[in-house]
Symmetry: C2
Subunit: 136 residues, 2 copies
DNA sequence: CTGTATCCCCAGAGATACTG
DNA sequence: CAGTATCTCTGGGGATACAG
């Protein structure tokens, strides 16, 4: 894994790709970062097409990496809220330029996501707390 | 809150993940971006462990996405130089924070690539410009 | 040197059903 | 609601050999 050359160290990247090179990881990080707190099913709805198993899988992986925080309430019905850890927030920040690049690239190409994903029902606005950090 | 300033549309990300979620794509983009021009075997050596098939595969994918430019010289022996397109450069820029995040995270976590490639800790060796900075 | 051509293999992603 | 439990199955990635 280590290249003995003196030029460039990609080792940290090798660590990172195990996180971000997961198909849904960045999406999920971004979604959670965008919402502050979000529940399992909310994530699943937003990621139209993901299966609970896959979502749980990625979620657990991200927890293991200390990127997201899982807070479960012992209620009926059960409620679990996912939020970003400090590390996760930093990752979310770091990923933002990427999203902007993708947006720009997408818009010049073909703007394939008009309407359908922009009218998502974000911000449940429960109570007074609706401040989403990470969202400038 | 999904207003102009802070709305994040994940749809473009769905397009992007097909690019960056490839195991080696970001690595290769970074490497090419770091070197300006680089040859097939040079990339392969830096990505210790990658097989020519995989590299060629990612490379072709990247070409298809107009992220890298392939310039082949009809020489003996043949020479091919890869460089970033304008889009690729932008991607490289967008990926930079990610790398920095990864570096930071790696260093606090567990120095998994100590010695061979993190030599900047050991004997800075004069104030001359070292080349092992990934992105400065 | 720069790739193709194969073959293999398993991790990851999907679907579905089920449980606490 | 929030996941697990299985099963499948594709395709990405690795290894090796070979070609232009």
């Amino acid at each position: 894994m280590e290249n003995n050359s003196n030029h460039i160290c990609l080792c940290p990247l090798e660590g990172i790709i195990n996180i971000i090179a997961k198909k849904w990881a960045i999406l999920i990080i971004s979604i959670i970062g965008h919402h502050g707190k979000i529940r399992f099913n909310d994530i699943m709805q937003r990621l139209d097409g993901i299966s609970p198993k896959t979502l749980a899988d990625v979620l657990k992986n991200l927890q293991k990496e200390n990127l997201i925080h899982r807070e479960s309430f012992s209620e009926i019905p059960p409620r679990v809220e996912y939020s970003l850890t400090d590390d996760g927030k930093q990752l979310c920040e770091a990923v933002r330029p990427l999203i902007q690049w993708a947006e720009k690239r997408d818009s010049v190409d073909k703007h394939r996501c008009k309407g359908s994903c922009h009218d998502e029902n974000v911000a449940p606005k429960r109570g007074t707390q609706q401040k989403n950090e990470l969202i400038t």
